[in-house]
Subunit: 178 residues, 2 copies
DNA sequence: ATTTGCATGTAATCTGTTACATGATTCA
DNA sequence: TGAATCATGTAACAGATTACATGCAAAT
């Protein structure tokens, strides 16, 4: 499916940048729905260059250190837009280790179950409060044609998802009688 | 992390069965949070047998056809229970292609955006109605020490997750002014 | 001087999917 | 007798993580 390809093309379509900066984007902006390590990004950039989807020019940081600034080509933009507009079936529900453990949680003692749910709830509450704080970067909700609209929609979705996860965990503690 | 290993051990801890039946479990009971094809299951069963986590005996279906009925060993049960009780940090948010597309959706025309959200909403509503129907298998909510409690908790979670996804999609259409 | 961050790459390994391959059983 | 389902495996490939490997730049 080459999804990493389109994540990279999408980012380069917003702004030319280096592999290092792309890497940072995956850890910040895309963090709630995609990830990629530099060891995966660099080879993909090489491949995309060979395929004519992107080009780069070498820039110098300081005196000697070289970095490659990648720019999307017309062919790359075309391919990206084609992918973006394609309609695609919903993906199968992703793997979730925690739910796997909950499925088997009947084998645990009540104390063990309690600590399992409590531990996860604490972590999800922390993530939720982080996401809500992220929301502050929007003084006012971006308009429907603002360049920030996508960012805003996914952040909204991430918050709703965490809220529901927290509610579910509370309900689990309740239903499992803890 | 060997998560498939523990999914298999967990199922065999409930009931001895063949690779084929395990495969069917992944497609039904575990469907909302785990999956595995037979091409991954059979080699894992071989490995678990070598490791002494499970054993099998050969049964005959009909006249000739052999099937291997796997049973968890004491060592396997111990290892499974150790894994289940371990406390573990929440997993990083899973990859989600649809959210990736929403993130870049500012590049689409309003009509394209509309069809993207509408298409997904329809599919998620269908899944939601399927899950709600699944809930009917519980005449009454299982008690906290019933063997069905894990199944019930994850189904509850799956429904809540789908409901939130649908709400989010509606909100997206609203915010994106469609 | 030392640590942290910038910057780029490859190798080994693990996980998972698709495709290849075979054959028996059951039901219509 | 043909199709669907039961039943088990391997091979090739794709996607992703961890570890290995190197070196400059900036700030303390």
């Amino acid at each position: 499916m080459r999804e990493l390809k389109y994540a990279i093309l999408g980012l380069l379509n917003q702004k030319s940048m280096s592999g290092y900066e792309l890497s940072a984007e995956f850890e910040s902006a895309l963090n709630e729905f995609w990830s990629a390590k530099h060891s995966q990004i660099y080879p993909e950039l090489k491949k995309l260059t060979q395929e004519g989807m992107i080009t780069y020019e070498v820039a110098i940081s300081g005196h000697v250190l070289q970095k490659k600034i990648y720019t999307i080509t017309d062919a790359g933009r075309e391919d990206f837009l084609r992918w973006l507009a394609e309609d695609q079936p919903i993906s199968p529900t992703p793997k979730d280790v925690f739910r796997l453990r909950v499925f088997f949680s009947g084998e645990l003692t009540p104390q063990q179950r309690r600590s399992m749910f409590e531990g996860h709830l604490a972590q999800h509450l922390a993530r939720l409060s982080y996401l809500r704080q992220q929301m502050n970067k929007f003084d006012t909700p971006p308009g429907s044609s603002s360049p920030e609209i996508g960012d805003y929609l996914v952040l909204t979705g991430a918050i709703m998802r965490e809220e529901t996860t927290c509610e579910w965990l509370k309900k689990c503690m309740d239903l499992a009688g803890i």
